[in-house]
Amino acid sequence: MIVSEYAVIRTAEPDDAGALKRLYDPCAPRCCLLDPRGEPIFPTFDELREVMSKSEMGQPFLLAVEDKTGMIRGFCSLRAINMEACYGEIVLMFNDDADYATALASDVLDFLARRAFEQFRLNKIMSRILDSECALREAVLRYGFISDGVQRETVYALGRWYGMETLTLRRSDTRYAQAEVSVGRLRRNAPAFEAASHSL
């Protein structure tokens, strides 16, 4: 469990399936909840419970984000990690769009960046966003992500086309850039470092 100034980030449990199901809103498609073909999916409660008990590369599939009162505000994740090309994709989703403009979002993005750049030593993280997800887009831009471009008319929902934007945060553009220089030093202790990564 990670306790930051505004957020508590912990492994999502099957019992959190109800909170996750609320994010699958047919009236507000989210890019991170589309399937690999870009189609919206609407899983059942049981399917979500099953997904939440899985892990990817030794790390939990999904992390729950709570506020200081213990209420689940949303979920986050670092997924699709490509160790060969050193990148991964972040997932950040709040139930209430207003949360993207708060310190809670900054705390979660800090956590994801630290996880990607320090723990997994990735070179970049990406966020994929539909053009309707304005609040999330503003949050990641504010954090330093830069747009790689928009795939036009990729998703069809609610009677209209949505573009899908990919935004990237490179390690060299963050305060973790220094860690890149010290990768050689870290690699000398690689077995211990790898063990720490896998123990999650």
């Binding site: 870009g38 189609e39 060969e84 090309a85 990148y87 070179n123 928009v150 795939q151 008319e153 998703v155």
Partner: protein, 211 residues
């Protein structure tokens, strides 16, 4: 499934297997398409064979794999349409020219044009995407000529031989392909005919030289 020109698309037959396996043994195949160095040739072969075996006649397949054929040269390449979304009417395309001597821009261009005709006119796609590595310049130059827009540049996104390279994502919408087709309809037809004739003339010369 035969389309109007002499280069056409068809489903793979059992007899194509040896040709396709021979293409797969070419290092270019790994370099440009299936670059995971950890996979054994056997695994790749089994994957391709299983892909080609999938029925394109199925009503809503998630992927379609076709052989690019021509009466003059026989099977010349592979076309794969992947991540087909029938809801979004979109797919991503990979095109591999197995015959190296036919890898000039015109032959690949005709094959790509046929592939797009198939996607938009037969499958009723709205959008076709292509992810192309930056070092594969002939491919992205060719796709740009078809009216596709470079929508994404993913920097240092693919590893080859210990180096990271950029990946470009191109998107071609139905309206853009139709505009391209309308603009070049006449010239494209004559261009293709002259290309085929040029190629035949070159082949005839090659045969004569060999004799």
């Amino acid at each position: 499934m035969a389309l109007k020109s002499r280069t056409f698309l068809r489903r793979a037959e059992r007899e194509d297997l040896d040709t396709i396996v021979a293409w797969m043994e070419d290092p270019d195949f790994l370099q440009f398409l299936y670059g995971d160095p950890t996979r054994s040739p056997k695994q790749i072969r089994e994957q391709i064979v299983s892909m080609l075996g999938r029925a394109a006649g199925q009503s809503m397949p998630g992927g379609i794999y076709l052989v690019i054929d021509s009466p003059e040269h026989g099977p010349v390449g592979l076309l794969s349409l992947q991540r087909i979304s029938w809801r979004n009417r979109s797919c991503s395309v990979d095109l591999y020219m197995g015959e190296k001597k036919l890898r000039n821009r015109l032959v690949a261009g005709v094959a790509f044009y046929r592939a797009m005709e198939y996607c938009f006119d037969e499958l009723n796609m709205h959008r076709v995407s292509a992810f192309i590595y930056s070092f594969n310049e002939p491919s992205w130059r060719m796709i740009e000529k078809s009216g596709a827009k470079r929508e994404l540049t993913l920097e240092e996104h693919v590893a080859r031989d210990g180096k990271l390279y950029d990946v470009y994502c191109y998107g071609l919408l139905r309206s853009e392909f139709n505009a391209f087709r309308e603009k070049y309809q006449r010239s494209a037809g004559s261009l293709m005919s002259s290309m085929i004739e040029d190629r035949q003339a070159a082949d005839a010369l090659d045969t004569k030289d060999t004799e």
